[in-house]
């Protein structure tokens, strides 16, 4: 009995992580309404653009998790392969963790950090600590 349990645990532990290697990129343009952005999502898997995916786009603020619930929107297929369009309604400017949840062809989730301001969205790479305030 103990041996079976041990083997089970060993088997579970040695399962390789699902190597999906999803990459994503956001290109957002502000609209006439405050805090609403038209975003183009570029999705790729292992370097190849991934088309035909069902993506739901949501967002959360890193500094206040679980507090700002942005209504998730389903992304529509865009013009180029691997591109999708979605309109994001954020409550305020600043840094957002955009959540791309895929239902097909694989179930996965990708989180992209972007800084949203009046011009659009810039990717955030948090290097050194930001200034004191």
């Amino acid at each position: 009995m103990a041996k079976a349990a041990f083997c089970l645990v060993l088997a579970l532990v040695s399962l390789p992580a699902f190597a999906q290697r999803l990459q994503g990129e956001l290109d957002c343009k502000p609209t006439r309404t405050d805090f609403i952005y038209n975003c183009t999502v570029k999705l790729a898997r292992n370097g190849e653009p991934l088309s035909g995916a069902q993506i739901t786009v949501g967002a959360d603020m890193p500094s206040m998790p679980m507090a700002h619930n942005v209504k998730p929107v389903k992304a529509k297929a865009g013009k180029a392969p691997g591109e999708y369009e979605a309109t994001l309604d954020l409550e305020m400017l600043g840094e957002w963790a955009v959540k791309l949840r895929l239902a097909a062809p694989v179930k996965d989730q990708l989180i992209l950090l972007y800084e949203f301001d009046e011009q659009g969205a810039r990717q955030v790479r948090r290097g050194d600590r930001p200034p004191r305030k």
């Binding site: 305020m92 400017l93 301001d117 009046e118 200034p131 305030k133």
Partner: protein
């Protein structure tokens, strides 16, 4: 190496002066009202944002902005006092604190609604860079900070020890019921102390934002944290302790950051507080407010 130490000590002293002022504001409220005001930093932030707005709209000079900052902080402070502290004067300290937290949330959102960018430039206190005094760099802002801290603390000491208002305050601290019976308008004294603390905080805020020339919505939480840290490091409840704590915090931060980087700076500051609290030397628990 010695030069670095001296330079860091000077910078640390300057920042410590700002922390000391923040701590003094906190101590005034804690010492007299026996309450923690979590909206202290956010009220200062409101003042700073008001000044930023004025600066963007009218390009006023830096001294006018000082007035606006103090005025904004005092008005925000009055709002906090009326809603969070006056109603719970004889009630629960915790309720007052949670209410002040609620107003902190209000201030933060209000400020980002009126000025939505994450970062705004604030005009500098002095144009031109630091002065070179021998091998050291002396920022004129630092001198102003130190001067303000010294003047304010002396003024407060005078106020508390030599004026009728100060007498009333001390009476309220030592024997609130007797003070009331003696005809002192206790609620009014408490309100005035609160506004005084907000004004001191506003000055501290102006010193900070005109030195760093930027304003962000994080300023509220940051000021509250630094004020609390400094107040507790120096020993809760005494003005002298607030100043000592502020200066100590500034010095510890300056040296830690130089030798070990910004994360270590904060880590060491918190560690210092934690260790002090765990050991609780007797000088940390003075309850008098002077």
């Amino acid at each position: 190496m010695i030069l670095d130490l001296i330079q860091n000590s000077f910078d640390g002293l300057a920042m410590g002066a700002a922390y000391a002022l923040l701590a003094v504001g906190f101590t005034l409220v804690f010492g007299v009202l026996r309450r923690v005001n979590l909206s202290y930093g956010p009220a200062i932030m409101v003042g700073c944002y008001a000044a930023t707005w004025v600066s963007v709209a009218f390009h006023s000079n830096i001294v006018i902005l000082l007035g606006v900052t103090i005025l904004g902080s005092v008005l925000a402070g009055a709002y906090v006092e009326k809603l969070c502290f006056a109603p719970h004067r004889q009630g629960s300290a915790i309720a007052a604190m949670v209410a002040s937290f609620a107003l902190w949330m209000q201030f933060e959102e209000a400020v980002t609604l009126v000025m939505p960018k994450h970062l705004y430039d604030f005009p500098p206190m002095f144009e031109g860079g630091p002065l070179a005094v021998g091998p050291l760099l002396l920022r004129p802002e630092a001198l102003v900070m130190l001067a303000c801290a010294i003047v304010i603390c002396a003024a407060l000491q005078f106020l508390l020890a030599r004026t009728r208002f100060g007498l009333a305050v001390r009476a309220v601290i030592d024997a609130p019921i007797a003070a009331q019976l003696a005809g002192i308008n206790v609620p009014r004294v408490l309100l005035l102390v609160f506004l005084l603390a907000s004004a001191v905080g506003g000055l501290a805020g102006w010193l900070i934002v005109s030195t760093y020339t930027q304003v962000t919505p994080m300023l509220g939480m940051w000021s509250t944290l630094k004020g609390l840290l400094a107040m507790m490091i120096g020993g809760l409840g005494s003005l002298r302790g607030a100043v000592v704590g502020g200066v100590a915090l500034g010095l510890v931060e300056a040296h830690s950051q130089w030798f070990l980087g910004p994360q270590a700076r904060d880590l060491i500051a918190y560690l210092l507080l934690f260790v002090l609290l765990a050991w609780r030397p007797r000088w940390m628990t003075t309850q008098s407010a002077s």
